[in-house]
Assembly symmetry: C2
Homo-oligomer: 633 residues x 2
């Protein structure tokens, strides 16, 4: 029997011996065997909210974002809002169709990183990957902070708790995601669909209400000096800015393409259908809110700092249901919850992307490890920690970061679609010219948007994203180089053969007791050249130790070293160094008998030279430190 | 060559390889070889201040302590002060003579613990030892806090810095004592002798001044309600309380008897002479301040909280030199400094006593270890930490603790002298009846004082000392029992013989790389039954690893285990457990190839299963974990 392969181990739960493991199971649930991985996959119905809550949440603010830019030109410029909304919707459709092609072409996960790395090479892939990683972190921090801010604005007494509440929500999301995909999807489906249904019902009711009304002249209130503030700028510039502001509606589309393998089979079909449903829901909500906004009798556009500030969605809700009605509050709460849940998309995607990058050697390997609950737990933890750090650092005031991540999103879009064009050029399946056309136009449009966003928001902070992207890409490359260097160093020489090496065994003998004797028996079993080593601080004690040693160790030699400076370590180190110098090829095994106390407070009663010795000897080549433990009751 | 005894190692300084060691040397000085121990001993002149600063410092407050009690009876009761001062002086002489006998009888250190343990048995010895340990901690905290309070009262703007300054002074004392005896004695001789000379000069000048003056009627000012407050109590009770208050003068006498071995040879003679000098200086200062206090034209006795508060010594200084003169300030500063230095006595004695207790197995062994600088460094650190904790806990307000430690002091005195009586009964040298008489009367008197102090101060907090003493004694006994149990467990069986045991060697193979191959060579050199062990998370990777293994390991078997829950640890633990179950006598050596990164940030790139495995396997008997390290550049 040369190979004893135990592949059919019964799938019994591993014993959870330690307390830590028990607490862990209580919190996160029982481990799930790898074999059940396909059971943990998501149906279309549950998969959509997991990967699309980020995308859906943008319906809460995209319309408002466009309007707030337009009003800077003039009050009448708001009339251009439908045109911009429609062009964003067209872009949305284009991107979604483009991504449906990607998903079908890469059923094992077709995020920008994979598509770019398979078709465009390492550099574009790493840029896409970095952009997405940064965006996910920003998404968690920004959307949780925004959701908590919405909650807090409903209950002003909670204002002091902005940061603690944000951190608590992130911890809740971490916990849900560490428990695993299936259960977190259960938790998130309800509020996501609740938001969509609430919005759609509100839009229908609103449209019916508007239908019966005479066309009013809309009264517009805004902070003094805002209306027409940038009237001097060329109109085209204002339009571009309004368009790029509206493009926040597209954030989150990427998520589904990254998450394809999390869908139940046929994964690609389910993912592609999710994209279709997402587009349908988003465009309905976006057009609906845009239409109703145009028909509000009074439109208030105050800065968030203004106490009169109300979001456009809440103004629509007040218009449709009346102020402070149940319907109004439902929309308010659903919006707050979907904003917080938007973070969940990042929690679903970041760990998956990080694991792919780690598997390819661009991030630390532990990120690629699938945990007990079939979740890339290290990625979940890293994302949570980074987001909490951002929130604490900015004290929850993340409004400034909100416009930033469109840059990352559109960079990733562009790279992904460009990659797909190359893909079809190589593969040339049925109808490839059409596919190239779709991805090509998609890539072109998103590329232009990326440049526009970067240009129009450069001074507002888009440059920060560029800096972060560069730093992150440099970091990923550095990690990759390091792993390659390690792999090179560890590649076995072709001529390597098994050869037992000569070894000397040094047994440390503080005095001859039962623990040392058990170590001595072990030393003797090593078949090396065995000797005892005693460091003495007191010459008078030497004869007794020598006697004891002779009695039990028989003919094995005992080396006694006096320590003039009362150090126990340095004479041992010196002796070992001398041995290594005499014969550099020799392996030296140093055996230390180490007492193991069963109670923690007993540890204070032991002098543990073993640990110090280990650290000190650990830096020497050809030295192995073995602990033979003995147990004290 | 059976025994290679390297006893004549050249006394070269050990190389200080690590940064830590270099910083250490910079702070504490170069290590001192054991052979130079006798050079580090103290002459009479330098030894006295090291061990007597505590005793000397009590001259600063003993007179005041008596007076403050007497005034509670009536203003005229202060007339009894000379009588009480004289009886305390008599007790002082008695105790010193008694201790001179002890010192000569126990030239290797004759502290209460040693004398009690040699003559009275374990329990009295432990009680004496505990009392002293507690006293030393209290001494450091109380006297540093008192000294700093004296400094701060001179510069009221520093009031906020009471705690930080106290902690800083304790750290300074720790540092000086970690550097070693000789150098710290240099540092402390000057202020100690400065204080004594300053006091004596002041007393002489004062006596001369009083001589020429007509006997005045003394005006006494005190806080309202203090004079005669306890007039209802029987006079004898007031006298006893005043006497026991005066007995604080005796604290610190014990120190010299503990420190005998620190004196230069002939140690006993030098120590005995120090005691004589100490008594002469103390009695001079005590009588002098008592006399001058009686002759102050105006005596102010305010509570320390009263802004008018001035110590009696400072009132005497003002009387002799005039308020705010150089002489006045000199006495003030010298008093503050000697109070802080009193703590140094504890730093000289506590580590020594702790080392003796540790050597006898009543305290953790590391306390018995003589450090680089021939100092029991662990004791110095423990004392410093405990004192700092006390000061921080009580926020520097330690006045309440001040009266407490007389209980401990007199308990130790009594046990020591009782022990000496038994000693002379056994030894019966020349003049033993006289010696028994001296020690007997000493013991009787100090015993009575102990009871009086305990009785009169019980409600003020003496009960706390009793509680601490009991807890500490219980702790020491518990430690002793534990060490005895360990010694019993580790005693080798008489029939024990050397026998090599059969062993199985398991080499963990995550994949076959250079590091694993080097570990494999080591495994092969162990001459056991060697097998590789690979835990797979992915069946598809198995054939490659099997191939690689076959190529290098030849005929050695490779065990492959699938891990259904993706844990790397638990399959290994299960496998080892199964082996141990099959043959409980078998030794199992688990070899782990461990990567050593040369840069700290590279560590994040490694998954270190080795450490976790070690912790987990460490709890199993007959399992040895060996790390074979490989180095990454």
């Amino acid at each position: 029997m040369r190979f004893e392969v135990i592949l059919d181990r019964s799938v019994a739960l591993p014993k959870s011996e330690s307390r830590v493991a028990q607490v862990r199971q209580l919190l996160l649930g029982k481990p799930i065997p790898s074999a059940r991985a396909h059971h943990e996959r998501l149906s279309l119905f549950f998969g959509l909210p997991v990967f699309a809550s980020d995308a859906l949440s943008s319906a809460a603010y995209a319309t408002e974002a466009i309007t707030c830019v337009l009003i800077l030109a003039s009050a009448t410029a708001i009339g251009l809002q439908p045109a911009i909304t429609l062009s964003v919707c067209a872009l949305y459709l284009l991107v979604v169709i483009s991504y449906q092609q990607t998903v079908r072409a890469y059923p094992n996960g077709g995020g920008s990183y994979i598509v770019a790395s398979k078709n465009l090479g390492e550099r574009p892939a790493i840029i896409a990957g970095s952009a997405l990683l940064i965006d996910y972190v920003l998404t968690v921090a920004v959307s949780v902070a925004a959701g908590v801010a919405a909650l807090v604005s409903a209950f002003p007494t909670l204002h002091w708790a902005l940061v603690p509440l944000s951190v608590a929500f992130i911890c809740l999301l971490m916990w849900a995601n560490l428990r695993g995909l299936r259960e977190s999807s259960m938790l998130f489906a309800l509020p996501s669909y609740g938001f969509v249904i609430g919005m759609v019902v509100m839009i229908i009711l609103g449209v019916v209400k508007v239908w019966g009304m005479p066309a009013p002249v809309q009264a517009i209130n805004a902070d003094p000096g805002v209306i027409g503030k940038e009237a001097a700028f060329p109109m085209i510039f204002v339009l571009l800015r309004a368009f790029s502001a509206g493009c926040v509606a597209l954030t989150g589309v990427e998520a589904i393409s990254n998450g394809v393998p999390a869908f139940r089979s046929p994964a690609a079909t389910n993912a592609s259908r999710s994209l279709g449903w997402l587009a349908a829901m988003m465009i309905t909500m976006f057009l609906g809110t845009g239409f109703l906004m145009q028909h509000l009798p009074t439109l208030n556009l105050y800065a968030t700092a203004n106490p009169e500030y109300r979001t456009v969605v809440s103004q629509i809700a007040a218009f449709v249901y009346g102020q402070n009605t149940a319907g109004f509050f439902f929309i308010q709460m659903a919006t707050a919850v979907i904003l917080i849940l938007a973070a969940n998309t990042a929690f679903a995607d970041f760990p998956r992307l990080a694991s792919i990058l780690a598997r390819d050697g661009y991030l630390p390997r532990p990120l690629a490890r699938l945990g007990d609950r079939l979740v890339f737990q290290n990625g979940v933890i890293v994302l949570g920690v980074l987001a909490v750090a951002l929130i604490i650092h900015f004290k929850g005031q993340l409004d400034l970061l909100l416009p930033l991540y469109a840059v990352g999103v559109f960079t990733a879009f562009t790279l992904s679609q460009t990659g797909m064009v190359r893909h079809w050029q190589k593969v040339r399946g049925a109808g490839w010219p059409m596919k190239i056309a779709i991805n090509g136009i998609g890539g072109l449009c998103t590329g232009i948007v990326a440049i526009v966003v970067l240009g129009t928001k450069f001074h507002e902070g888009a440059w920060i994203v560029l800096v972060l992207l560069t730093l992150s890409a440099i970091g990923l490359f550095a990690i990759h180089r390091r792993y390659e260097a390690i792999a090179e160093q560890l590649r076995p020489a072709e001529t390597a053969t098994l050869q037992a090496r000569e070894q000397s065994v040094i047994l440390l003998v503080p005095r001859v007791h039962r623990g040392v004797l058990s170590a001595l028996n072990y030393a003797a079993s090593l078949h090396g050249d065995v000797r005892g080593l005693h460091v003495t601080l007191d010459r008078d004690a030497v004869p007794e130790i020598r006697n004891d040693w002779e009695k039990y160790a028989g003919s094995l030699p005992l080396v006694v070293i006096e320590s003039p400076y009362r150090s126990l370590l340095s004479p041992i180190l010196d002796y070992v160094d001398q041995m290594l110098e005499e014969d550099p090829d020799r392996l030296v095994t140093v055996i230390v008998a180490e007492a193991v106390a069963t109670k923690w407070f007993h540890r204070f009663l032991q002098e543990n030279v073993a640990q110090q010795l280990k650290r000190a000897l650990g830096r020497r080549k050809n030295v192995i430190v073995s602990n033979v433990r003995y147990f004290l009751n």
